[in-house]
């Protein structure tokens, strides 16, 4: 048999190459350049790489290009609008996380260039997750995303909390990866292909028990990644123990990365996937909402609280996923939700980094007492982020919830899930507002550390959250195009 080299459209690969390449560059420079200089340059290089990647991604908008198509088969890598939307989320997440880390690392004396390198590799994995059109590639992306995160969680070693966090994350992550890869194996056994369109096409000819169990195991693997109940146990511990800058990064990046793959499968399989899955995901969503929101109530450590809150938000995104089974708007709503969540959550974490004046100290809710009097603007922004996470109007968080609920009502038969979402939002109001009333309604003495890089994250996040809240239509239209254009190009390309 003659070897046919795959067709490679390098424009598609560039966004990935830039991010991962910049990571390699930082690693190499570390060998040759003085330590002083590389410390200064590593974050700048990382930001440049991410920004360039975002710009190239945007230039591919509406182009529907793809790469690595073997012998005329379906491509392994696609750069449709859907993937581009995710690339942009990841680039934003990356840039904000780098800005948020600069001062944090200097302060804690962990200012080593490999931090940014690991972050870039992980971001490369996330982007690959959104672009992958093949189960093997998704698995590759998942590992590329996760392994740097395991190391980053332990970056504060030898602090025992950080080491514990790293180990826990690694064990659970490895466990979920193995379940996932076993799912791929079963699916391959049932359909004789690993390409997503191929699997979906094979599934149309009738589902077998083998395929069903394969798909179920993949869902479980993803549920671990996005921290959906009942696969969420690791989240609060890992979030609490990891260095705060890393927690910020993974609370958004890892979650959105997991969802990128779930949504991609939904996108490809939209016309054919059956109703049983909708019910399964709806129940998963309801459970996640209840568990996340209820357990968050009693937390006194803000990182832990946001850990549970991130579980809850996975639940809201899952509402969109469940709705997507008979309403493509569900996918758009989920994408919009992740945009709003990324900005709001990173903004909130920037404030947490500022309040955590010494590593591991100042992360209790009590440390927020009296913040409003001494730092009115920081407190105002934090209050705004908390209200956005609650979903109060004029914030991006509200618009996001509105779109998700709307999609679910439109999808018929999911009103019960919307009611769960609505009532758990009320519960979430309690614990988010607790942060606000510690800041505004008590006296306190705490200090914060505010540096320009950190302040820029807070400002960008606040402005973006406000814009998403005031002009939701404009942004949702983009999210809608991201889905519909991709659906069309899929239909055209077969």
């Amino acid at each position: 048999m003659e070897f046919v080299p795959p067709v490679i459209d390098y424009a598609v690969v560039w966004p990935l190459l830039l991010v991962a390449g910049m990571g390699v560059l930082i690693m190499l420079l570390d060998l040759f350049v003085s330590e002083e200089r590389i410390r200064q340059w590593a974050p700048i290089l990382a930001i440049v790489g991410l920004a360039a990647s975002a710009i190239i991604s945007i230039s591919l908008w509406n182009s529907g290009r793809s790469a690595f198509s073997v012998a005329g088969g379906p491509p392994m890598l696609v750069a449709d609008n859907f993937a581009i939307a995710f690339n942009i989320i990841f680039a934003i997440t990356g840039i904000l996380s780098v800005l948020l880390s600069i001062n944090y690392l200097q302060r804690t004396g962990r200012d080593r260039p490999e931090f940014y390198m690991l972050m870039l590799f992980s971001l490369g994995g996330m982007m690959l997750m959104g672009m992958a059109n093949d189960l093997i590639l998704i698995f590759l992306a998942l590992e590329l995303l996760s392994i740097p995160l395991y190391i980053l969680s332990g970056f504060a070693s030898p602090r025992p909390e950080s080491e514990e966090s790293s180990l826990k994350y690694f064990l659970v992550g490895a466990f979920s990866s193995s379940i996932f890869v076993f799912g791929i194996a079963l699916t391959y056994g049932a359909t004789e292909t690993t390409s997503l369109p191929g699997v979906v096409a094979a599934a149309q000819n009738g589902t077998t028990l083998l395929l069903l169990s394969g798909a179920a195991m993949m869902l479980v693997g993803f549920s671990f990644k996005v921290a959906a109940a009942p696969f969420h146990m690791w989240t609060p511990d890992v979030y609490e123990g990891a260095p705060t800058a890393v927690t910020a990064f993974m609370s958004v990046g890892a979650k959105v990365g997991g969802f990128a793959a779930i949504l991609r499968i939904m996108l490809v399989g939209l016309p054919t996937l059956g109703g049983t899955w909708a019910t399964a995901i709806a129940f998963l969503a309801a459970l996640t909402l209840l568990v996340g929101n209820i357990l968050a109530i009693s937390q006194t450590n803000i990182k832990r609280m946001l850990g549970y809150s991130s579980i809850a938000h996975a639940g809201y995104i899952l509402i969109g996923v469940a709705a997507a089974f008979n309403n493509p708007n569900g996918l758009s709503a989920a994408i919009f939700y992740m945009f709003a969540y990324a900005f709001t959550n990173l903004g909130a974490f920037a404030v947490i980094v500022a309040v955590e004046h010494k590593e591991g100290e100042g992360v209790l809710l009590e440390n927020y007492k009296g913040l409003a009097k001494r730092y009115p603007w920081v407190a105002l922004c934090m209050a705004f982020f908390m209200l956005s996470l609650t979903g109060v109007p004029t914030t991006g968080g509200f618009a996001a919830k509105f779109f998700v609920f709307r999609a679910a009502i439109e999808a018929q038969g999911l009103i019960w899930l919307v009611l769960v979402g609505v009532l758990t939002s009320v519960i979430s109001g309690y614990y988010y507002l607790r942060v606000v009333f510690y800041m505004y309604m008590y006296e306190g003495e705490g200090q914060i550390v505010m540096k320009p890089s950190l302040a820029s994250v807070i400002v960008i996040a606040a402005v973006a959250t406000l814009l998403l809240g005031l002009l939701p239509g404009t942004w949702f239209e983009l999210a809608r195009q991201a889905v519909f254009h991709s659906v069309q190009s899929l239909a055209a390309g077969g």
Binding site: V422, Y440, M441
Partner: protein, 504 residues
């Protein structure tokens, strides 16, 4: 676009921005400037609302001065403001009460002034938005938005149990409104539009679910009013809030609930309105009597006024669900009256509290001997709240009772409802006179009372402004009724026709 309503709604935000950019030196030298900016902004807003009032054509039942542009066109969401007979009085009430509350805070609020006045103005913008928005999505945004400034006003500048009261207020209201959001979404999706007039025109599309939709809307509004049994947040919030917060809560925020019932519940779900009218009327009457009895039992004078609000708002709800001209007109006017009278009562209580730092009635007595002019003015306010003929409260209550006794919605025996409601008037006389007697009559009991400082000119001015409305409405209410007349008739015609079409 006419712009006037847009300017009206967002003018307070200009003041918010200005205040945010001002410097507040530690020594308090910049404090007065902040207050002046807040007062000027609020006064300017009041003037703009007067302009809107002059341009308002009372003979036209439809929405006027409409501002409408597409916002999220693909989903039929638009930025849509308009005013008609249901809302014009509420708009005036909002701008008036906000101005009074801001002036009245001059000496009461001493710390974090920038934040305080910023939130007051944000609240004003939010409330105006609620009364002017004609698109359900826009309305919902304003409706929820008013929670944020009020939450901070109670939580930061309130008294001892403020944190508990503020969070209870927030969560209670949010729970109700989120259920309404689900209903709004459902209707918006079935009809492809969120604009209220379009939804009313196409209400057949969701008529099959109207009972449940009606309940989702009604509960959200009933919590705000509050209608028994959704009232338990109110005494806490009113009591713990700073004086200006209580004035705005009682004066305007509660009216948002009654206004929204008239604006949305009645025309969107006419058959359901008829269907539930007797049940809601019973709840309203329980509220009237229960609120009055609880008022009587209070030791804290602010709590007494708070419970009296539950009783008074019961009348308003009863009037609405009489579903006839007299009932609804009375309800609107009584809403306005309650804003004036109870706002004034909270101001009176606030003046006393600022001077003696206690709200316990037992520690007062004999204030008349010390502050005769103030006491005489307070007496008129108390009498107005009681519904004495010749003052504003009487006109509203009388019209409501008139409406309820002839209400077809409460058939076959509407007079029973009227009879029970009337007992509320008697109970009001008891607890209010008792309140007045304990605080103002007799000899001065303590040194604090003997040493009460006389009224300042600013405080006197505010009281006179309140009294002006009390007498004006009491003596010549015709002008007020004229403002709402045509819109209310159109509404009543519309819902009774719709309901008649259904009953065989």
């Amino acid at each position: 676009m006419n712009w006037i309503l847009t300017i009206l709604t967002f003018l307070p935000l200009v003041g918010v921005v200005a205040i945010a950019l001002m410097k507040q030196p530690e020594d308090g030298s910049g404090d007065d400037n902040i207050k002046y900016v807040a007062i000027a902004t609020s006064a300017a807003t009041f003037v703009v609302s007067l302009l809107a009032l002059f341009r308002f054509d009372a003979t036209n039942p439809a929405l006027q001065m409409v501002d409408r542009v597409d916002w999220i066109p693909s989903w039929g969401i638009s930025y849509f403001l308009g005013v008609d007979g249901l809302s014009i009085l509420m708009v005036m009430l909002t701008t008036f009460i906000s101005l009074v509350a801001i002036i009245g805070s001059w000496s009461a609020i001493k710390d974090q002034l920038k934040l305080y006045y910023g939130f007051m103005l944000l609240l004003e913008a939010g409330m105006l938005g609620v009364f002017l928005a004609q698109d359900l999505f826009l309305f919902y945004i304003f409706w929820e938005f008013t929670l944020i400034p009020m939450y901070f006003l109670i939580g930061i500048w309130g008294s001892s149990r403020r944190v508990y009261a503020s969070i209870k207020f927030f969560l209670y209201t949010m729970a109700g409104s989120l259920l309404m959001l689900v209903a709004i979404l459902y209707m918006g999706i079935t009809n492809g539009t969120f604009s209220t007039p379009d939804l009313i025109a196409g209400r057949e599309a969701f008529a099959h679910a109207q009972n449940i939709l009606f309940i989702a809307f009604f509960v959200a509004f009933a919590i705000k009013v509050p209608v028994f049994p959704f009232h338990s947040w109110l005494p806490d919030a009113h009591t713990e809030a700073p004086t200006a917060g209580s004035i705005i809560l009682a004066g305007v925020l509660l009216k948002m609930g009654t206004y929204a019932i008239m604006r949305f519940n009645l025309p969107l779900f006419p058959e359901a309105s008829y269907h539930y009218a007797p049940l809601i009327a019973v709840l309203a009457i329980i509220g009237i009597i229960y609120g009055a009895i609880l008022s009587f039992a209070q030791k804290d004078m602010k709590r007494l006024v708070a419970y009296s609000s539950i009783s008074h708002l019961g009348f308003v709800v009863l009037g609405i669900f009489a579903l006839n001209d007299a009932g609804i007109q009375g309800a609107i006017l009584q809403g306005f009256n309650h804003g004036i009278s109870t706002g004034a009562l909270f101001f009176v209580v606030g003046l006393l509290y600022e001077r003696s730092h206690t709200r316990v009635m037992a520690e007062y007595g004999g204030v008349w001997r010390v502050m005769p002019v103030f006491s005489a003015m307070s007496l008129i306010i108390v009498l107005s709240s009681m519904g004495l003929p010749g003052l504003n409260g009487f006109v509203g209550e009388f019209t409501i009772l008139l409406g309820s006794i002839g209400a077809e919605s409460l058939a076959p025996r509407p007079w029973i409802y009227t009879a029970f409601a009337t007992t509320g008037v008697i109970l009001a006389a008891i607890y209010l006179l008792w309140f007045f007697q304990r605080i103002f009559m007799g000899p001065p009991v303590t040194e604090t009372v003997k040493g009460l400082a006389p009224l300042k000119r600013r405080e006197m001015g505010i009281l006179i402004a309140f009294l002006l409305f009390i007498f004006w409405i009491g003596v010549a209410p015709a002008g007020y009724f004229h403002l709402m007349d045509s819109t209310v008739s159109a509404l009543v015609n519309d819902i009774s026709r719709a309901a008649l079409a259904l009953t065989p």
